[in-house]
Subunit: 118 residues, 2 copies
DNA sequence: ACCATACGTGCTCATGTACGCACGCGACGA
DNA sequence: TCGTCGCGTGCGTACATGAGCACGTATGGT
């Protein structure tokens, strides 16, 4: 009933992680900190999509979506593949999926009622 | 072997969540998108801390830490309590802990070797 | 009452970034 | 070869944000 290496059990939180890890995590979070990118990633978690389809679904100009996809690609969150004259993107890594679902669940808790269960 | 309501199983990712949820999630991610706030939250996940101690441990000016704590408090990620002339902050909600650990794990994967296991 | 401590706030400066438009480039089809 | 379609890029603009200084405020000790 103690030290499940999980949520509580303050052991791990005592000392700060190395700066490189912190900055890398911050960078990942910054990629998730934009509604448009969030929607793009959400759709990409469901399967492959080309830029035009994404731009249409997230209701944004294609250049904007392209820029977002470029950033996401640089960060390694998505991967690109050519199909004819289109470029098809897909989500990359299970971490993104878990972070998205966790955030959406938190948002739901934050909106429906109780701010959070402490 | 299908529909575990988990990572894959594209069902849930087909349609975008409501805008309110997306923006709320983006806001939460924006709070986590800064190295200083990330460090502060990390320490607060391990227990209560006052502003001065936090400023000392994260190596930042006290006013800066205070501003960050204000934002985190507005977002509901941390809570404050008065103890004498100090103000003691604590983390609030298990979502933050899970997001932090998930992000740190992802950062570790991203740094040590394989960018990610697709 | 006076001083010291611990926070919070207003402010400015510098930086980062999202958006959309116009353009250039590569890939198909006639 | 020429026209069309789909993407990416270089701008400029408008906006949000982080850092630190100086100051105001509240609490507790002498």
């Amino acid at each position: 009933m103690y030290a499940r290496d999980d949520s509580a059990s303050a052991e791990a939180w005592q000392r700060l992680p190395e700066s490189e890890h912190v900055e890398a995590a911050a960078e990942s979070f910054r990629m998730l900190a934009d509604p448009t990118r969030l929607r793009i990633l959400w759709l990409l978690c469901g399967g492959e999509h080309d830029v035009g389809t994404l731009a249409e679904k997230v209701v944004a100009a294609r250049p904007s979506v392209s820029q977002h996809l470029a950033k996401l690609r640089m960060t390694g969150l998505v991967a690109a593949r050519r199909d004819g004259r289109r470029v098809v993107y897909r989500a990359r890594g299970g971490h993104v999926r878990r972070l998205l679902r966790e955030a959406m669940e938190a948002a739901d808790h934050h909106l429906t009622g109780a701010p959070d269960h402490n």
